[in-house]
């Protein structure tokens, strides 16, 4: 080995060492994930589990070495369900905190308010809100994880098709969720050959719906009743439904897919069918179900850390965070444009909400398999075949 080759080897060592130092310096710089969530206020039941989920998993990811050798840093603000606050915080996330991507927007209102800011600043944004309008039409930088109310309607109508039901009565509350779902159900009903022959509503704080239901009972055409709503309303509808002795099938929406509904409606809940996220029935899922592992792990992590029941809303945040992480790994960088492109190419990724197949045309990427059809039997959820 002559001197020159010696030097060459030495030079290579030095340059590798220098590179090491460079990447090491880079590793000190964390990837900043921004979040704005309704941790307090009227939508706290959404934001609270979302915030807890993000904190829990950012910690876990960092403990396991971070992403691309860099730590994650969560910068989170409480927008309290207020669209104005959401705008202010997103501006701060973009301009002062200089985050690499944003996960957040517990409600549709907050999400829609910040979309122009995100589009202008050109950074990936994953919303945790429900409405279809967030991703339809497709916006270049905006993605979302929860399944939509339109899909819930479709899932219900599919089940009705299987039971040869074609004429239904629709009863919905006066809240935003109820109204949106009612509109979506009416829009997709013809696609499934379903005709809505009765359309009743009730107020958010109404205490008795027997009048509306009696009207439906008198309508001989009605083969099933669908109730779009959440909170106390659907539980009262269910009780009144049994009280006046209606015997047609009763469907509820994913809005009441929680143990609380069974607790409130009591025995009247038996026989009710509804679409729900797999997370609710994690334990009841068959072992060969591809989603079982993900939802069981999330349930275990969340409940062992916070000692409270896991909620589907926290699941949206889980999916939002890990979709971003996955995209960064795929792009081998946290570069905003590259991460965005990588997000669009995610295919067959299994999350808590279901299997995500994102594409330039679809920024949500879930299909109807995200919902499971459940029937309440003996006060507990059972999977419909």
């Amino acid at each position: 080995m002559n001197l020159r080759s010696c030097l060459a080897v030495l030079g290579r060592f030095v340059s590798i060492a220098a590179l090491g130092v460079a990447t090491h310096a880079l590793a000190q710089e964390p990837i900043k994930i921004g979040a704005f969530l309704s941790v307090t206020g009227p939508a706290a039941f959404l934001g609270d589990p979302e915030q807890k989920t993000l904190e829990l998993y950012v910690e876990k990811i960092n403990a396991a070495g971070g992403v691309l050798g860099r730590k994650l840093k969560l910068v989170s603000y409480d927008s309290a369900g207020d669209a104005d606050k959401a705008r202010t915080f997103v501006k701060r996330l973009i301009e002062e905190d200089k985050v690499d991507a944003i996960v957040g927007g517990s409600t549709t209102g907050e999400t829609m308010a910040v979309i122009p800011l995100v589009e202008q600043a050109q950074l990936p944004f994953i919303s945790l809100a429900g409405a279809v309008v967030i991703v339809e039409p497709v916006k270049k930088w905006v993605f979302k994880t929860p399944a939509t109310d339109r899909m819930a309607c479709e899932k219900i109508f599919q089940d009705m098709n299987g039971r040869k039901i074609s004429k239904i009565g629709l009863i919905s509350g006066s809240g935003a969720f109820d109204k949106s779902m009612r509109a979506q159900c009416m829009a997709v009903a013809p696609k499934y050959g379903i005709e809505i022959v009765g359309d009743e509503t009730y107020g958010a704080q109404d205490t008795d719906m027997t009048a509306q239901l009696t009207k439906m009972r008198q309508n001989a055409q009605i083969q099933a009743v669908l109730n779009a709503g959440f909170g106390a309303g659907p539980a009262i509808v269910t009780k009144n439904f049994r009280q006046i002795g209606m015997t047609v099938p009763l469907y509820q929406s994913h809005g009441v897919a929680s143990k609380e509904f069974i607790k409130l409606a009591g025995e009247a809940a038996n026989g009710v069918r509804l679409p729900a996220a797999a997370l609710l029935v994690a334990k009841a899922l068959p072992f060969n179900d591809p989603q079982k592992k993900v939802v069981m792990a999330y349930e275990h992590d969340y409940e062992s850390r916070y000692h409270q029941d896991v909620s589907t809303f926290g699941g949206h945040a889980y999916d939002g965070l890990f979709l971003l992480v996955d995209a960064m790994k795929k792009a081998h960088s946290a570069d905003k444009a590259k991460v965005r492109d990588a997000l669009e190419s995610i295919h067959g990724w299994m999350g808590v909400d279901g299997e995500f197949n994102l594409s330039p045309q679809d920024h949500m990427g879930l299909d109807l398999s995200a919902f499971r059809m459940l029937e309440i039997k003996n006060g507990d959820w059972t999977l419909v075949k």
């Binding site: 706290a44 039941f45 009743e200 509503t201 009730y202 107020g203 958010a204 704080q205 205490t207 008795d208 027997t210 009048a211 509306q212 009696t214 009207k215 008198q218 909170g231 106390a232 539980a235 009262i236 009780k239 049994r242 009280q243 006046i244 002795g245 609380e260 607790k263 409130l264 009591g266 025995e267 009247a268």
Partner: protein, 291 residues
């Protein structure tokens, strides 16, 4: 067809009786102090929530319900003693605003002391609907209607046959004159708030098995009860009952025969019409000095 009408009537009467109980609370306080107590709905909420949480600790209903009523009464007395009485000299409008503030405070406290979830209460005597001529009625509705009747009778006896009741009536007619003949107006105010709180709590406990209870249940029930009291004539006991039942019936019938989306519009529309024609309400005093 008649079974359908009967069902609407039964639904209307049940809801109406609830409104009537809340409306009575408004009237009692109005009589004693000319104040419209916007915290009345919160008494309903506290009654229901306290009962639900006491039952949650394992107490039986016959024990939990009276305890909850006592607790709510204490809240009512505290409201009178520490908020309304201290602003004695202030104009009525100020006092009304104080009660609005109190209602917001009580709601906030309830969401902290308890939680923001919706709680059920077991029905007093079963869940099996009673069939009446093709229509059905829950046993709990009979409880609501029955207790409302008993309460109305008891109030009538109290106001017309006891010295305390007569003193309260006297205060409502003329505060100064009542004071001159030796009625303690301060005591009357306290009793009125305590009585209204107890009534509200009773209503909250009775309706919780039908409508559930939660920290914000008082807002809408309070508003409907207020509307019923106005419709029947503020300050009139029979007026509160008539107004409540009428409001419930109008709602149920318009939901059944016209459109459920417009039932509140129809109910409040009729209410406005009545008030334009009879400013004192259906059974109110002819001279509608202050409404």
């Amino acid at each position: 067809m008649s079974a359908q009408l009967l069902q609407y009537l039964l639904a209307g009467l049940t809801v109406g009786a609830i409104y009537a109980l809340v409306a009575l609370g408004f009237s009692i306080i109005y009589n004693a102090s000319q104040v419209i107590n916007f915290a009345q709905g919160e008494f309903v909420m506290i009654g229901g929530m306290a009962t639900a949480s006491l039952i949650g600790t394992g107490l039986p209903l016959p024990l939990a319900a009276p305890l909850a009523i006592v607790a709510t009464t204490l809240v009512g007395l505290a409201l009178a003693k520490f908020a309304v009485e201290r602003a004695r000299g202030a104009p009525v409008v100020t006092l009304i605003i104080i009660t609005i503030g109190a209602s917001i405070l009580l709601r906030g406290l309830a969401s902290l002391v308890w939680d923001k979830n919706i709680h059920p209460l077991p029905p007093f005597s079963g869940d099996r609907p009673i069939a009446i001529g093709g229509a059905t009625l829950l046993p709990q509705s009979l409880w609501v209607l029955g207790v409302t009747l008993v309460v109305v009778a008891a109030l009538w006896w109290f106001f017309n046959r006891t010295l305390h009741g007569k003193a309260m009536l006297a205060t409502s007619h003329n505060r100064l004159a009542a004071q001159l003949v030796g009625v303690s107006v301060r005591r009357v105010l306290l009793v009125a708030f305590g009585l209204s709180a107890a009534l509200g709590a009773l209503a909250g406990i009775l309706v919780a098995p039908i409508t559930f209870t939660s920290w914000d249940v008082g807002v809408m029930l309070g508003l409907k009860g207020f509307a019923a009291a106005i419709l029947g004539g503020l300050g009139s006991g029979p007026g509160a009952v008539v107004g409540g039942l009428l409001l419930g019936l109008i709602e149920a019938l318009s939901a059944g025969y016209v459109s459920s989306a417009y039932k509140d519009v129809i109910a409040f529309g009729i209410m406005l019409t009545v008030l334009v024609l009879m400013p004192g309400g259906l059974l109110g005093r002819r001279s509608a000095e202050r409404v």
